[in-house]
Symmetry: C2
Subunit: 229 residues, 2 copies
């Protein structure tokens, strides 16, 4: 009798995946579908809206809704808390602080963070292990002008990522993924050969228009980021 928005969404998605409604073709209007399914228009609207958000259909006022030609626009990757990611695999997590210093930001960092020359930053190098083998190398820079508390904080037991989420309420983030070659330091820390290709994630965290912290995470050799949709 009463179709839920999930039923309707699944049914429409079925018609698309089975090829009954082909890419580029027009889908009946919300009013028509509401009648077909015996539901309110708001219910049909929610089903269609979610399909649009997922990149399966395109909607335009007056012209109606169409099945998208290229079936997708975006992929979502989970950003795990490192400790959880490792523990979910049933492996033991261990954290180690390798190096900690307070310095004047080098030029490349000033450029990256839009900092004035001579700004002081805390620079940390940390390692994350899974069952004793290196999992992730973390190079973290914290802007002390914006977060002076970071100068005195103790990162020997708690990693900077975990500490930072307790300090910064919420923030705009820019994430970048690329490939890099292991230099001597990375090779030693990640237990791999110099020159080995490694997956690198960089994150810039903004707050109130300024950059609070920059982190460069280099994953163990062979690491993959995977997602389904």
């Amino acid at each position: 009798m009463s179709a839920t928005y999930r039923d309707i969404k699944a049914d429409i998605l079925g018609k698309i995946t089975r090829g009954e409604w082909k890419p580029g073709s027009l889908i009946p209007s919300e009013l028509e579908l509401a009648e077909v399914y015996g539901a309110a228009r708001a219910t049909v609207n929610r089903a269609m809206r979610e399909l649009a958000e997922e990149g399966i259909i395109e909607r335009k006022r007056k012209s109606g809704s169409r099945v998208r030609l290229s079936p997708l626009r975006q992929a979502r990757f989970d950003i795990p808390v490192i400790r959880h990611q490792i523990e979910e695999q049933g492996r033991a997590y261990r954290y180690a602080l390798v190096r900690s210093e307070v310095i004047e930001a080098p030029d490349w960092l000033c450029a990256r963070l839009s900092l004035p020359g001579g700004a002081r930053v805390r620079h940390l190098t940390c390692l994350h292990f899974a069952d004793g083998t290196p999992w992730l190398h973390e190079d973290r820079w914290i802007n002390l002008t914006l977060l002076p508390r970071a100068e005195a904080a103790d990162f020997s037991a708690m990693g900077p990522t975990e500490w930072l989420v307790t300090q910064i309420p919420f923030s705009a983030v820019e994430i970048s993924i690329s490939a890099t070659a292991a230099d001597a330091t990375l090779a030693a820390h990640l237990d791999c050969a110099v020159g080995e290709p490694l997956l690198m994630t960089e994150r810039l965290t903004h707050w109130d228009g300024q950059t609070v912290t920059y982190v460069r995470l280099v994953h163990r050799p062979g690491h993959r980021m995977t997602t389904r949709y």
Copy 2:
């Protein structure tokens, strides 16, 4: 007077980013917020639902909604159509078919695609250029058992990706990102040194429970995937 769900969402997000509502703390119920904002509960519900989808808050029946402790769960990356990605930069797109063959799937491919031994596949190697410089190397395998039309298709002018979207209505996809080292072939095609670290995207496309196609996209040296949220 009348607050839209966008207004409400922005206002709540503001309270969270400004630290008025701290991570872990309880947010007023929908009913209370509806009164505060002078809106219907459905309107508040939509604002809160979207904040939950974006990983900003957590909701549970009876216990209510809380600001998440770790402010995020996922990042979205746009999956561009290569041609568009290049043309949006104001650069000229060019496609080239490097190699095409129909073969029995090698063992590693059978394993990856859950194919029976001896299954025939079409294997294509293509290059995508931006302003004449190599942008992306594409290694594509198409399961001919599921898509026999692919055997006769001509990929000299149209890339397999563009052709496939016209053939497969919609599909489940698995995406994987990793770092790889350039071998001699890749180095020649992408005009870089052997051993250079390169970002690789792999995609498995399923249809009706079976794998239709597998593609390995290797990006030009220094390529970054970037997103904000």
